[in-house]
């Protein structure tokens, strides 16, 4: 998967040990805008499925335009972190060994920058 406009943002998330993928995703379409993933991570599937879950979570919690949400899916073999607002979200795929606290903060910071810069 080639990276482009959001390379620096993605690098800030990918630098932590145990992070196997970082994606900028268009929430409505569930499509990858930009991303970096390790071999074995199906970025498009992560984007599509996690975006669908994220949209449902936003609807369930009454998120309005301009209101961000973060979502964390914690499973036995890994985690997915999503932080976003409106059209775009930052997603990270983590192994269990990853420091979730640091990754969570990195994803949030990156998502804040994403919300400020918007689509490029």
């Amino acid at each position: 998967m080639r990276t482009g406009a959001y390379e620096e943002l993605l690098n800030q998330v990918m630098r932590f040990p145990g992070v196997r993928g970082a994606l900028v995703v268009a929430i409505r379409d569930g499509l990858v805008v930009d991303g970096r993933v390790h071999v074995g991570v199906h970025g498009e599937a992560v984007a599509a499925l996690a975006a669908s879950l994220y949209r449902r979570a936003c609807r369930a919690t009454g998120a309005k335009r301009g209101q961000g949400r973060t979502l964390e899916l914690d499973a036995a073999e890994g985690r997915i972190l999503i932080a976003g607002k409106d059209d775009l979200a930052l997603m990270a795929v983590l192994e269990r060994r990853a420091n979730a606290g640091q990754a969570r903060l990195a994803v949030r910071r990156a998502a804040q920058k994403l919300a400020k810069t918007g689509r490029k």
Binding site: S52, L71, D74
Partner: protein, 269 residues
């Protein structure tokens, strides 16, 4: 930072410039913060944390910078991380308490002060903050308590201030037990139905992406954190205040799961 032994800005800058791995960036960031150069202070701290991600004082300092910039949520995040790394780090705990007192949140402040008192029983700063808290608690109208959930999860809120409520929802979306403060029962039912659907979808995601069994799903807004997990085939949804440190929220969830399990066993589920 120490007064008489404080180094000059030039000395600190030179040290950091000569050695990017130096932890002097923390002291330098503090110096910039005190001068009011907050943007530079933030950049310095963030860059330093890239090399030293577990540096407790750096997280604490970054929290102070964010607080001065008015970014209170980010400040709480940083102090929360400092406490995750070092639960006995009193300055971070006291900073959180001061912020809660400023925002008129006596229950949250009280919770943190109890922890601070355990760490440092005779500390003067802790005593001072208690004295500020007492009038607020006397003057409180108890509105938080008036909306407190009763029944199964009432105990949870009494044990853990910062808990907003909890629900148990079955596979069909029916409410089994619980209340979300200050929502009414109908709102609780709607929330239960939509969120139990979200948990089911999360299970599908975890399965398709081969992440193993789902443990929990957490949804966070600016104010509330909702944590969903399964207890048997029933969905447990716990709501906590967003600024409750993640470790504390995990304790709330664990206790809620215990209460839920006991309740479901008593119902024969």
């Amino acid at each position: 930072m120490a007064g008489s032994t404080r180094r000059s800005l030039q000395e600190l800058s030179a040290e950091v410039a000569a050695n990017p791995n130096s932890t002097a960036f923390v002291e330098l960031a503090a110096a910039y913060r005190e001068r009011g150069d907050l943007d530079r202070a933030v950049r310095l701290c963030l860059r330093g944390l890239q090399r030293h991600p577990t540096h407790v004082e750096a997280h604490y300092e970054l929290g102070r910078i964010y607080e001065q910039r008015g970014e209170r949520e980010l400040a709480l995040d940083e102090w929360g991380i400092a406490l995750q790394l070092a639960p006995d780090h009193l300055p971070s705990r006291l900073s959180i308490i001061r912020l809660y007192l400023d925002e008129g949140r006596p229950a949250d402040a009280a919770r943190e002060l109890l922890l601070a008192r355990e760490i440092a029983p005779g500390d003067a700063s802790v005593a001072e903050l208690w004295s500020k808290l007492e009038p607020m608690r006397r003057d409180g109208d108890g509105s938080e308590d008036a909306a407190a959930p009763v029944g199964l999860f009432g105990e949870l809120k009494r044990e853990y201030p910062g808990t907003l409520g909890a629900l148990l929802v079955d596979a069909t979306g029916q409410l089994v037990e619980g209340r979300m403060t200050p929502r009414g029962v109908e709102s609780d039912r709607m929330l239960g139905v939509t969120l139990s659907g979200a948990r089911a979808e999360a299970e599908r995601v975890a399965s398709y992406l081969q992440l193993g069994d789902l443990r929990s799903v957490v949804i966070e807004s600016a104010v509330v954190r909702l944590t969903m997990s399964a207890v048997g085939g029933i969905t447990l949804i716990v709501a906590t205040a967003c600024d409750l440190p993640a470790g504390q929220a995990a304790r709330v969830l664990a206790r809620a799961r215990e209460l839920a399990r006991e309740h479901l066993e008593s119902l024969g589920k």
